[in-house]
């Protein structure tokens, strides 16, 4: 079920009413309702793949129970290995099987031993990269004794499949989300209203910004061979805002929806395009995934401790794995590697934590240094996004060489019609609002809270009207494919 669909607009109030009016007195019943609602939400897309979530949940629940009873280190490791193999096995099969089969065959062909790649017609289950990481984090944390293994199977299953964040995150940790299923949730008026506001802003980001930019980005990337440099640069710009609006919009809707049910999810985006360097960008972009890799991969590998070689190795590993997580294509790996290259100088010069607080703290505008840092970082990410969006490496390279040509200084020639102008104007307005709200959880969190109700309502109505009438053609959330 898509957040930006009428189906969800019907589904959400029904679950909300049942949750607070029918099941509110019994915690177990409330968790059961959430579980059923979550399976229904997922099954709306394809009920057959529900079995994967159920199986994954079973494995990790019993791995947790096993770890609770087991003191023997070898047996504990074996249990953890079971969880890792099952979860990554599913992920590997559904997401990476064809990639490895094809590249394996290609490698043999290059070595003069041509073999036939036996690729399969595999459908990627929606959200598999998200829920496998979430449930895996539980097993790892139990193994590391960071959390007590749960005895409440219902709470655990509801935690793994919690519908607001099931298919595209934020990837929650058991330490944060699971305990919320143990205790009685109270309805808090302000929290629920805040949740609705965040949902509204998420829908705006997705339908108005991402979907409008998507139309332009698709047009430019699909016809990139015949376009001049300035058009291609604009295409990358549109894609940068498409992916940000799409993914952070989804996160906002997920967080807002959770708040309606009394849950608090972790923040997933913190105005990443206002970052002053790449290190700061990665602290603000897809936070739940970055911190997942940091905690479960980077730190176990040694992190930034050790010699220069270790730092370089670990940085490349984490960025390349992060790229590969996004999809089975070399373009994602190059995207990850490019970000590692951007990040390394900061790490080696120990300047990766120089920009910790918000930009232009206490000021309306950034100073020259901040502005320069912000612009450079944005342009660097823009170039990396080209690979993220490209069909293949050749497409990405030719796209970049098209940008860095003399035609960069020509007027865009992709047919700059009303739609493109509208997308640009909307994006500029969006950046302006995001800038004003950059110190908050989300841009409009505090906007208009002190205004009189009619004026505040007028602002919300305006946003709804813009969503309804200036939104782009409906597109699926990009991160569903991951």
């Amino acid at each position: 079920m898509l957040f930006n669909s009428i189906d969800f607009a019907i589904f959400l109030p029904i679950v909300f009413l049942l949750y607070w009016f029918v099941t509110q007195k019994n915690l177990k019943l409330q968790n059961l309702l959430l579980l059923i609602a979550s399976y229904f939400f997922y099954g709306w897309w394809d009920w057959k793949f529900l079995s994967l979530i159920v199986f994954s949940s079973f494995v990790d629940y019993y791995v947790g129970r096993g770890l609770a009873k087991q003191e023997n280190t070898k047996k504990r490791k074996l249990l953890l290995l079971t969880s890792v193999l099952v979860n990554l096995g599913f992920l590997g099969f559904f997401k990476y099987y064809n990639f490895f089969a094809e590249n394996f065959a290609e490698a043999f062909t290059l070595l003069g031993q041509p073999i036939q790649a036996s690729s399969l017609n595999i459908i990627l289950p929606v959200g598999i990269s998200f829920y496998t990481f979430q449930t895996l984090s539980y097993s790892i944390d139990v193994y590391k004794r960071k959390i007590e293994p749960t005895k409440d199977i219902l709470a655990f299953f509801a935690f793994v499949s919690f519908f607001p964040q099931l298919v595209a995150g934020p990837i929650e940790r058991a330490t944060n989300l699971l305990p919320q299923f143990y205790k009685k949730r109270e309805f808090v008026y302000n929290k629920a209203v805040d949740g609705l506001r965040q949902i509204l802003w998420g829908l705006f980001k997705k339908i108005v910004i991402a979907d409008n930019c998507a139309e332009m980005a698709n047009k430019i990337f699909d016809g990139s061979a015949d376009l001049n440099g300035s058009s291609l640069l604009l295409g990358a710009f549109f894609f940068a805002f498409q992916i940000y609006g799409d993914f952070s919009g989804y996160s906002d809707i997920a967080i807002g929806t959770s708040r309606l049910f009394g849950f608090d999810l972790m923040k997933n985006f913190a105005f990443p395009y206002f970052s002053r360097d790449i290190a700061e960008f990665w602290r603000r972009w897809h936070i739940s995934l970055s911190t997942w890799f940091r905690d479960y991969l980077y730190i176990p590998l040694g992190g930034s401790r050790g010699g220069t070689w270790m730092k370089v190795r670990n940085t490349f590993i984490i960025f390349i794995v992060s790229g590969f997580w996004h999809g089975a294509n070399w373009t994602f790996i190059v995207w990850g590697a490019l970000n590692a290259i951007y990040f390394l100088p900061l790490l080696l010069l120990k300047r990766n934590r120089q920009n910790i607080g918000d930009i232009a703290e206490g000021r309306l505008l950034p100073n020259i240094r901040e502005f320069f840092g912000m612009t450079t970082t944005f342009l660097l990410t823009l170039l990396a996004w080209v690979f993220f969006r490209a069909e293949n490496l050749g497409h990405g390279l030719s796209y970049l060489s098209g940008i860095f040509s003399m035609s960069l200084f020509e007027f865009p020639d992709f047919g700059l019609g009303m739609n493109a102008i509208l997308a640009i104007l909307l994006t500029i307005s969006f950046v302006f609002i995001e800038w004003l709200g950059r110190h908050n959880e989300y841009a409009i969190e505090k906007l208009g809270l002190n205004w009189k109700r009619p004026i505040r309502y007028a602002m919300y109505y305006t946003l709804i009207l813009i969503i309804l009438f200036l939104g782009g053609s409906q597109q699926e959330f990009i991160y569903f494919q991951f």
Partner: protein
């Protein structure tokens, strides 16, 4: 504050919004007019829904839109025609167009001319397009059917609504479907057939028969029967390269050939009325550019077929 308060306020907020939305729809609906557009002939729609005694209704998708010339048809058939084709439109839109006309007309048309082809029942090549939104804004009698077309109706409805609002502020220029092709030669081949583009839409070279679209087609046939209107089906010319890739064409043509009392005139390769020369009259693999000479031929063939 309690949850009851939350719900009360949310309902109030939504109620106000809904009241505003309904009021806007009524307002736009009451001042609605079909506007010029590059995807159809806006003036023909406007004429169809204002002049309520037309003799010939031409309905279909872009193949129909491209193949007919009203002046020639009127001269040859003696019926006042309108071309109600639109780019990409599927049979749902075609049926709604026809039904909406019947809802509003004073005199039933004598003839309905409908272009049908290999992809008529394909739900990818044909879609619920923008004119569908226009039809709903223009004719409130269609609203009970709106939910049947959810969610694909949302986008066309939104776009139609926006165009109506824009047009009240800024006049829309003098454009129509033909304006994009006016500089193309009408009697020589100037296009290249791109297999990759074809395969993007038809990867297996099969158009298939979507059951819902087939049901819409049957409704059109029945509407004609019930109202004593002569339905004429035809397939406009297509180039050989395009035609040769249509794996399941015979299955689809069988549907058109076997409707009692409905003549089917086939101008594509293998059809009764095919001529090789038509390839020079095209603007691409399946859209005619020379619509005047073709309309003349089509009208004469119809007359012969129906003994008019």
């Amino acid at each position: 504050m309690s949850i009851a308060n939350f719900i009360k306020r949310s309902l109030k907020f939504l109620g106000l919004f809904l009241a505003f939305a309904i009021l806007s729809l009524v307002l736009i609906g009451s001042t609605f007019e079909f506007l010029p557009h590059t995807k159809y002939y806006g003036q023909d729609y406007e004429k169809a829904f204002n002049k309520k005694d037309l003799g010939l209704l031409a309905i279909g998708n872009s193949k129909l839109l491209a193949s007919l010339d009203n002046t020639t048809l009127q001269k040859e058939l003696g019926l006042e025609p309108v071309n109600l084709g639109s780019i990409f439109s599927n049979l749902s839109v075609t049926r709604l167009t026809f039904e909406s006309y019947l809802n509003n007309c004073e005199v039933m048309p004598k003839m309905v001319l409908m272009e049908v082809s290999w992809f008529t029942f394909n739900p990818v090549r044909t879609q619920f397009n923008e004119i569908g939104g226009d039809l709903f804004l223009n004719d409130y009698k269609l609203w009970p059917e709106a939910l049947n077309y959810y969610p694909e109706i949302i986008d066309p409805l939104r776009k139609s609504f926006m165009r109506q609002v824009y047009s009240k502020v800024m006049p829309i220029g003098d454009i129509d479907y033909s304006s994009e092709f006016k500089d193309m030669s009408r009697f020589e081949k100037t296009y290249d057939f791109k297999l990759s583009e074809f395969e993007e839409v038809f990867p297996d070279h099969i158009a298939g028969v979507d059951p819902e679209l087939l049901a819409e087609f049957e409704r059109i046939v029945n509407l004609c029967k019930e109202n004593n209107i002569q339905l004429v089906l035809y397939t406009a010319p297509e180039v050989s390269e395009y035609r040769s890739l249509q794996t399941d064409i015979e299955d689809i043509k069988t549907i058109f050939r076997n409707i009692p009392d409905v003549p089917y005139l086939d101008y594509s390769e293998g059809g009764e009325f095919f001529k090789k020369d038509y390839e020079l009259w095209m603007k691409d693999s399946h859209h005619l550019n020379e619509n005047v000479r073709y309309s003349e031929i089509l009208a004469k063939d119809i007359k012969a077929k129906l003994d008019l």
